[in-house]
């Protein structure tokens, strides 16, 4: 027994932004050590440093009593570290037994495979992991919780001394959670150390021995689970209100309801019965944890996936968006989260990206008027202060912030935009551009647009939004007016807890 894994003063920055700062964390043998924190608090980065997926800039990592200078996924695995991610990564076309064997069996390409031994071992491991299904099934036929069990079986089979579980209960039902906890208890009994990440604070009391809280890349507390009640945890996770990214929004004079959504449901996207209203001139923040269905809700309004039920009205007129083209025709614009994949065509010149959603604006007698297109681009680039050599520069050559401005400019070119949905509008954007984008969003609202802004950054939402709707598990968990919204309250709602924190 003793300390299995320890980090001392770990530092890590991405592009000049501190993800982790002086993080010290220890995992004892036979303990379940929970790691909690908001989105972006640094949990994933810390995990990645433990597993060797990311290298720390500074600090020490000790595994099994030895200092690990250059960690690497295969080295970490050899040292007994196993991870079960929230999204299991099995090979879909292989059976469960083959998936387990790939992780555990060694030897050259030409070794003889003992199929029976492979099956028997896989089945035994599955049973220890608490599964009741055959190892002959194809991985693609398994449900999400079943896939997770296979990952746990892999970890048991590897005789891992350190098992990291990343939000293992996010998609589990009650009995499945109980079964998982029995398996974790079994691991603990064998002296395995478990790092347990979860947003479900209520279950930490049941399973965790110690809890470490991360905030803004720093450890704010490590204490016995018994000494951490929910209120204290939420307080620690949210902390004081941080420096706001921009001055708080003044109360605007609001107009008529522009976007009215009632009971919107989309089973394919996991959105159920979401209702909200955004009025002209209003910025409504849509908060929630990663996976709470915010982006999916936006995609449903924008017609990327048609809704199964519910009603959408834009400026009073019903909108049935079966494709983005319908939504755009109805006066809705959308700046997606994943800019290079969905937001802009990287290969296109800036001017062509700006005009793409409204080519009719620059079309004369059926043909694209290159001069008008360039003129439009120049005007909007000046307005948004896009830093580029010319409107004909390739969009992919711009920085993230400037690409995001181009994505926004596309909707400024729209002739009759009424509703603008922004998904993480300042993610991956540098500080200067961020302030400019915030100012622009406010100008747009002041012009009478209805703005729905999704953001995982609570300070950003608190500074920008008139009203905040919080989602949890595909539903609306609650709504807060500007004046009554605080980080702890938002966080409590996002964690699926009603009432005060």
């Amino acid at each position: 027994m003793g300390t299995l894994l320890e980090t001392r003063g770990i530092d890590k920055s991405f592009a000049g932004v501190h993800a982790l700062q002086g993080v010290s964390f220890a995992l004892e043998a036979g303990e379940v050590h929970a790691l909690v924190g908001e989105n972006g608090a640094g949990k994933s980065t810390l995990i990645k440093i433990m597993t060797g997926a990311v290298e720390a800039d500074g600090g020490e990592l000790h595994i099994a009593g030895k200092i690990v200078a250059r960690n690497h996924p295969s080295l970490a695995r050899a040292l007994g570290v196993a991870v079960v991610y929230q999204q299991p990564s099995l090979f879909p076309h292989l059976t469960v037994a083959e998936n387990i064997a790939l992780a555990l069996e060694s030897g050259g390409l030409w070794r003889r495979i003992d199929w029976r031994a492979r099956r028997e071992r896989a089945q035994a491991l599955l049973e220890r992991a608490g599964a009741a299904f055959s190892c002959e099934r194809l991985a693609e036929s398994l449900s999400m919780p079943e896939q997770q069990v296979v990952e746990i079986a892999k970890a048991i089979g590897a005789e891992a001394r350190i098992v990291i579980l990343d939000e293992p209960t996010a998609s589990l039902s009650e009995p499945e959670v109980e079964r998982l906890f029995r398996v974790i208890g079994d691991l603990r009994g064998r002296g395995v150390g478990v790092v347990y990440i979860s947003h479900r604070l209520e279950e930490l009391a049941l399973i965790a021995d110690r809890i470490t809280v991360l905030r803004d890349g720093e450890v704010v507390a490590t204490d016995a689970a018994a000494a951490m009640d929910r209120a204290r945890l939420v307080q620690l996770m949210a902390g004081r209100v941080r420096d706001l990214p921009a001055a708080v929004m003044p109360a605007a004079t609001l107009g008529e309801p522009m976007l009215e959504v009632r009971g919107l449901t989309c089973r394919a996207l996991g959105v159920s019965n979401v209702s909200l209203t955004v009025r002209a001139g209003e910025i409504v923040g849509l908060a929630g944890l990663v996976g709470s269905g915010r982006t999916q809700f936006a995609e449903c309004i924008f017609g990327l996936e048609p809704a199964d039920g519910g009603e959408i009205r834009v400026a009073g007129a019903p909108l049935r968006a079966r494709s983005p083209a319908d939504a755009i025709a109805g006066g809705v614009g959308y700046v997606p989260e994943d800019r290079p994949r969905h937001g802009v065509v990287l290969d296109f010149p800036i001017a062509a990206n700006i005009s793409l959603a409204h080519l009719k604006q620059v079309t004369r007698a059926g043909f694209i008027d290159a001069a008008a297109e360039t003129e439009q681009a120049q005007r909007l680039m000046a307005q948004l202060r896009v830093k580029a050599a010319s409107p004909h520069q390739r969009t992919g050559a711009l920085s993230g912030g400037n690409q995001q401005k181009v994505a926004l400019a596309r909707w400024l070119a729209a002739p009759d935009l009424k509703v603008l949905i922004l998904d993480e509008p300042t993610q991956g954007v540098d500080v200067g551009a961020k302030a400019e984008i915030h100012a622009l969003i406010r100008q747009l609202a002041a012009r009478g647009l209805a703005i729905l802004m999704i953001s995982s950054e609570l300070p950003e939402i608190l500074a920008m939004a008139h009203r905040i709707v919080v989602m949890h598990a595909g539903r609306v968990a609650g709504e807060l007016a500007r004046a009554e919204a605080t980080q702890p309250k938002l966080l409590a709602l996002a964690l699926g807890q009603s009432g005060e924190a």
Binding site: L304, A325, V345, L346, D347, A357, F367, I368, A397
Partner: protein, 322 residues
């Protein structure tokens, strides 16, 4: 969108080749030889226009050779049955549109990968035609079928004029129509194009229909060169066409390429094989040299992609540093 690197290198290669021919085999430039060469390559160019659109949207159509055979036979049969040359040409074009629409619907709306769809239709249509015709050619055609009732020179001029008209029309449309812009966007990043409100399935379906139409027209013009129509025409034609488009600089991953490039690609591949014979090289080397040209062209693109990516990364680093 604007990067004529490949077009310039192909044009250079073509000029070089012609220069060698002028010095070593001036007979190559006899009027008759050039006219034959041109006429034989017109179908490749016409279908190549459609294929350029298909590849620009990041799809592929390997069924054009089989479509070509079917449309030619239909033109012949309709001419025989009705005696109307105009009707024969129209029938070939309509047949091409229908076959292309079948490809387009399966790719765009049933969402089967285009290589699978068109491989299947390539085989199915070819064997269907073989079974229907029992290997027979269409003969006893009306006298005015050959050369579409025109004098030989008149037919040649008309075919050339139609082809050049189509080339200009396609190039212009791609450049200045909304549909052209939508096509480049769809090929470059289909998801982003959809988020921008473009009807990407309709665009994909349309390029297959257009390719069918162009194949039908090419088949009619090609069939009219003789007084009988073979039922086994166009075997391997799809590879010639795809090769010409790719050599012309259209990116096989979509979103990048031009009609001008395709014209040059058809010209280079069309000239190289007969040129070798004129230069006294065994005809057996023709395919090998064509293959080498394709490899070089694709290699050039790979190098360009690689350096473009490097440049992007370089820019990214600079931004971070700033």
């Amino acid at each position: 969108m604007k990067n004529y690197g490949q077009e310039i290198s192909i044009a250079g290669a073509l000029v070089l080749l012609c220069g060698i021919l002028v010095l070593a085999a001036p007979g190559f430039f006899s009027r008759e030889n050039l006219a034959d060469l041109l006429l034989a390559n017109l179908p490749v160019l016409i279908i190549g226009l459609g294929m350029t659109l298909v590849i620009l949207t990041a799809e592929i159509d390997v069924s054009v050779g089989s479509m070509f055979a079917i449309c030619g036979v239909i033109a012949g049969e309709v001419a025989k049955a009705s005696g109307s040359i105009l009707l024969a040409v129209v029938a070939a074009i309509v047949a091409g549109a229908v076959l292309g629409a079948a490809n387009g619907a399966l790719v765009a709306y049933v969402r089967i990968p285009s290589i699978v769809v068109t491989l299947a239709t390539m085989t199915a249509w070819r064997s269907g035609l073989r079974w229907t015709m029992q290997g027979q050619w269409v003969d006893n055609l009306p006298a005015n079928f050959q050369w579409l009732g025109l004098p030989q020179t008149g037919f040649r001029v008309a075919a050339l004029a139609i082809t050049l008209g189509l080339v200009a029309f396609t190039a212009w449309g791609l450049w200045s129509w909304r549909a052209g812009r939508a096509l480049y966007a769809t090929g470059s990043n289909r998801e982003a194009a959809r988020v921008a409100g473009l009807n990407t399935p309709a665009i994909v379906a349309a390029v297959f229909v257009l390719t069918g139409v162009l194949t039908g027209l090419a088949a009619a013009l090609d069939a009219a060169r003789f007084n009988q129509v073979p039922s086994n025409a166009g075997i391997g034609l799809e590879l010639t066409v795809i090769a010409a488009v790719v050599v012309g600089g259209t990116s096989i991953t979509g979103g990048r390429g031009s009609v001008a490039g395709t014209v040059l690609g058809v010209a280079l591949l069309g000239v190289i094989a007969p040129a070798l014979i004129f230069l006294g090289v065994s005809g057996y080397w023709g395919d090998a040299v064509q293959g080498a040209i394709i490899l070089i062209a694709i290699g050039l693109e790979a190098v360009r992609l690689h350096s473009a990516r490097r440049k992007m990364e370089g820019a990214g680093v600079a931004v971070v540093a700033a």
